[in-house]
């Protein structure tokens, strides 16, 4: 029989052997878990940082391109024929009416959110068609101005710019326009040009503002990409503007693309509930939970069952 010392020696050797054999596996498993934890905790932060950077870059590019456009239009303005100038001096009734609707550009101003989602700002029903471009009026080949609806405006914001001289101001004001029309009648153009002549030394900032119709934009993106992200955003947008029929439609479309996506079920259930079909909403959520685990879906189901508000 083996002696105690031999057994102790063998036990020591076994410990060393196992440490050597399994040590590397332990190291790799620990490394894997560490990386997984880091990814889990820091991924959302990194993603939002990346998206912020991307949106800033896009905003800067938009401002630069708009400034170039405005300058080109300004050059065109200097080449206006005499007839056209006369017409500018006597604006048509239509133009006058537009002039009365003018409001300061910085009122009701909104900024694009960081996650690049174009949010509904105030009155979404009026927003659908208020695609505004601040530009010089276009001129037809015969020298006449285009209709006032197509007119654009130059905003001379020298003071604001010279005081602050801050590029961030540019990006903020240029990305999304205020919802009201911002227009300057053609007869004001000579005044603007006069001011320009009087203050030739000052730097001028031409800001083109435009508001993008988020629904139109999202639909366009969805048609191009057929990405579930856009269909889900549309479902959410319609839900927010209380168009529950459309929200339901887009939720179903999203579900067609990926039936395992919990967001499609959630928007479906919410829209159904708002349309007075609470039972259908509960059935759908229960059906989803039979094959999936989701705290959010469970929470919504509980809220629907208890009758609590979830918005």
């Amino acid at each position: 029989m083996l002696s105690t010392s031999e057994i102790m020696e063998l036990e020591k050797r076994l410990l060393k052997y196992r440490a050597k054999k399994y040590g590397k596996y332990f190291f790799f498993i620990t490394l894997f878990f560490t990386i997984s934890l880091c990814f889990y905790f820091f991924y959302p932060t990194a993603l939002s940082w990346f998206q912020k950077n991307t949106s800033d870059t896009n905003a800067t590019t938009l401002v630069q391109s708009n400034m170039n456009t405005v300058k080109t239009k300004e050059n065109n303005q200097t080449l206006l024929p005499d007839k056209a100038k006369k017409q500018e001096e006597t604006p048509s009734p239509q133009e006058s009416s537009i002039k009365t609707t003018n409001v300061p550009i910085l009122e009701n101003q909104h900024v694009v959110s960081q996650d690049h989602q174009i949010k509904n700002i105030s009155d979404t029903t009026s927003r659908k068609n208020d695609f505004l471009v601040l530009n010089m009026p276009d001129i037809k080949p015969d020298g006449k101005f285009l209709t006032p609806k197509e007119e654009t405006v130059i905003l001379n914001d020298d003071d604001a710019y010279s005081k602050k001289n801050d590029s961030s101001l540019l990006s903020q004001t240029a990305v999304v326009a205020p919802s009201p029309y911002l227009q300057v009648a053609p007869n004001e153009i000579p005044k603007l040009e006069q001011q320009k002549e009087e203050e030739p030394v000052k730097n001028k900032v031409f800001i083109e503002t435009q508001e993008i119709d988020s629904l139109h934009y999202l639909k366009d993106k969805f048609e191009k990409t057929h990405n579930i992200v856009f269909s889900l955003m549309l479902a959410e947008e319609y839900y927010m503007i209380k168009n529950y029929e459309e929200s339901l439609k887009w939720a179903l479309l999203s579900n067609d693309i990926d039936s395992s996506n919990e967001r499609s079920w959630i928007w479906f259930a919410k829209a159904k509930n708002k349309l007075g079909q609470k039972e259908d909403a509960i059935k759908a959520l229960k059906a989803y939970l039979q094959s999936h685990q989701s705290k959010e879906v469970k929470g919504l189901l509980n809220q629907l069952n208890s009758g609590n508000s979830y918005d």
Binding site: M1, L2, T4, E6, I7, L10, E11, R13, L14, K16, Y17, R18, K20
Partner: protein
């Protein structure tokens, strides 16, 4: 020491060559049949080879034990390095009497030819560890085989270092070659189970599960001699724990660490 230790007797059944209890395994059964059939053929030299420790000697012993009753078979388990010693031993095994001093194999052959019946079948001589025989003795044995009075079965180790099969006298003279391959996982399991069953150690059968057999196979590479050594050491370690630290032992399957400890002790695995 407590004589009632359950593992003391069990370890002894794995002493290599200590107990002749041939375990019939798939590959060894095939090799056995092939060898017996080949010995019946009118061949002069047969080569039986395989890696060391896979049971060639055991198989030869089994064949010898089974056929010696019919006569005409001689088994040399130990090698000879001298021609005179070889012919002397062959004579004594053949005629069961003290051998005269032969000057060489030709004198031996002439006497044997006179004493043996002309129509008698050739005597089968099983030679183990043939790779240890000197080349000139191998050549004399071949000449004896040419006399048709003897047929020789050489058993040699096939090693990776030296390809003994490539030697001239084996490549040109051998009429039949039989290889014994190493054991498979199932055969290792069968071997251990049968060993325990033959010795009525039924209570120890549940000590080993599939994972243990896999580990034993991995450590021994299907080598019977190493399997015996490992099992002996495992039971020796278990014997110690049963004697001194019985609480460490489970009544069910053993901890794999005892097999690893045995392998470390035998140098099959290293911790350095």
């Amino acid at each position: 020491m407590n004589k009632t230790n359950a593992y003391t007797d069990v370890k002894n059944i794995f002493i290599d060559g200590g107990v002749f209890d041939y375990v019939n395994l798939d590959k060894s059964a095939i090799a056995y049949d092939k060898l017996v059939q080949t010995l019946k053929k009118p061949l002069k030299i047969i080569l039986f080879f395989g890696r060391p420790g896979i049971g060639k000697t055991f198989l030869l012993q089994k064949i010898y034990n089974d056929l010696k009753g019919k006569g005409g078979i001689i088994f040399f388990p130990r090698p000879f390095f001298d021609e005179k010693e070889f012919v002397k031993s062959l004579y004594e095994e053949l005629f069961m009497e003290t051998s005269p001093n032969f000057s060489g194999y030709d004198e031996f052959l002439s006497i044997v030819s006179k004493r043996l019946d002309k129509d008698a079948p050739p005597i089968s001589v099983l030679i183990d560890e043939a790779q240890l025989y000197p080349d000139d003795l191998i050549e004399k044995i071949r000449l004896m085989a040419d006399s048709r009075r003897f047929k020789f079965l050489f058993t040699i180790h096939k090693t990776e270092k030296e390809d003994i099969l490539a030697k001239d006298y084996f490549t040109t003279r051998i009429w039949e070659t039989i290889e014994l391959y190493h054991l498979s996982l199932g055969e290792v399991q069968t071997y251990i189970e049968k060993k325990l069953l033959y010795h009525n150690k039924f209570e120890h059968l549940n000590l080993f599960k599939n994972c243990h057999y896999k580990l034993i196979m991995q450590l021994t590479q299907g080598n019977l001699r190493n399997t015996n050594k490992l099992m002996y050491k495992v039971f020796e370690i278990l014997e110690y724990y049963d004697e001194n630290k019985p609480s460490r032992l489970s009544s069910r399957a053993i901890n794999k660490k005892y097999i690893e400890m045995a392998a470390l002790s035998l140098g099959m695995i290293h911790n350095a």
